[in-house]
Subunit: 200 residues, 2 copies
């Protein structure tokens, strides 16, 4: 009997534990490889009990991707004690750190956007809406005001960040041949005001 097998958790704590194990498994496996059996085993519960918390495998997968999205939103929360550009740099830094530590969870989130799975798509859209609103709600810091043009370009910048960060993280070259993380962050930070200025 493992320690966890002996532990009695409240339903809420058990649900949390299963989601955390799911996100952890997604750091090194794809969503398709996320095994409900292994998660149940790691939690020291039966497969049947897992399905007491999540109706089926799809629902568990979606809940894990939602948790990954929530983690990403939380970890990149802007630090309003910093001036605008250092604040953006810091959020991007935590974003890159998150993607590095949770590659497959992040890819599942981004792939969900393009997949036929409507609920994964909704998680992605809602996540990007939160991240983009952080920009459009604060464009006055760049001397601009919110509107359709600013919204479209903020959304475009977000897509650029997703693409560039994923390309950087997945770059197969050895670290000393790659662009430094600092350089990546500096460029993406500078790109936001540059892109938003095109709306003026």
């Amino acid at each position: 009997m493992t320690a966890s097998r002996r532990t009695r958790l409240s339903p809420q704590a058990r649900r949390e534990q299963l989601l955390e194990l799911g996100v952890r498994m997604l750091s090194h496996r794809t969503l398709d490889e996320l095994s409900v059996e292994e998660i149940a085993e790691q939690a020291g519960i039966s497969r049947g009990l897992l399905f007491h918390y999540f109706r089926n495998k799809q629902e568990f997968h979606r809940a894990v991707v939602q948790r990954a999205a929530d983690d990403l939103i939380e970890t990149t929360a802007p630090d309003f004690t910093l001036p605008p550009l250092p604040r953006l740099f810091r959020s991007l830094e935590r974003y890159v750190d998150y993607v590095q530590a949770n590659q497959h969870a992040y890819i599942s989130l981004v792939r969900g956007a393009a997949s036929g799975d409507q609920s994964l798509r909704e998680i992605f859209d809602a996540t990007r809406a939160v991240l983009t609103a952080r920009i459009t709600d604060n464009v006055d810091m760049f001397g601009l005001s919110d509107g359709p043009a600013v919204r479209l370009m903020a959304r475009g910048w977000s897509a650029m960040v997703e693409e560039a960060v994923l390309a950087w993280v997945q770059d197969p070259q050895p670290e000393h041949c790659r662009l430094s993380k600092d350089e990546l962050l500096r460029m993406l930070t500078a790109a936001l005001p540059a892109v938003l200025q095109t709306t003026g």
Copy 2:
């Protein structure tokens, strides 16, 4: 007997015809809705004969997406008689026109990028590589030289264009409330040198 049923085509011409019918069907339907039966009927041939040209439904789907990608590359070919920024504006204009006219074909291409389907992914990657090389091969026009930073940001800009154009095309607002196409093109054109300058 329809006219096309009576027509004898060379194998090459028949293959072309089937691909063109496929791309046309993808202008208003998703890849999943692309019906091999209907395509065969429109071409006036049997389903069996279609499978003489394409081994199975998947192979036909991939060939249609590849054709859509080839069309996109061809229609956006830079006009080197124009100066750099008008040349970029003109390519982007044809890109937006293509996406408007072939929405589902374009979405299938972009979704293929994120899908688990390895061959759709390869079509997308190869297409984006061609489009991005048009930028990186000509960055001297912005007073820059090719390198990892320029490549990463050119790739990021491509993702921005994909996102912004798709968002603009799918915007449910009536046309007079939307950003004008000219404004969209102007911003995306200006965004390229702006984004590339961050590498300096």
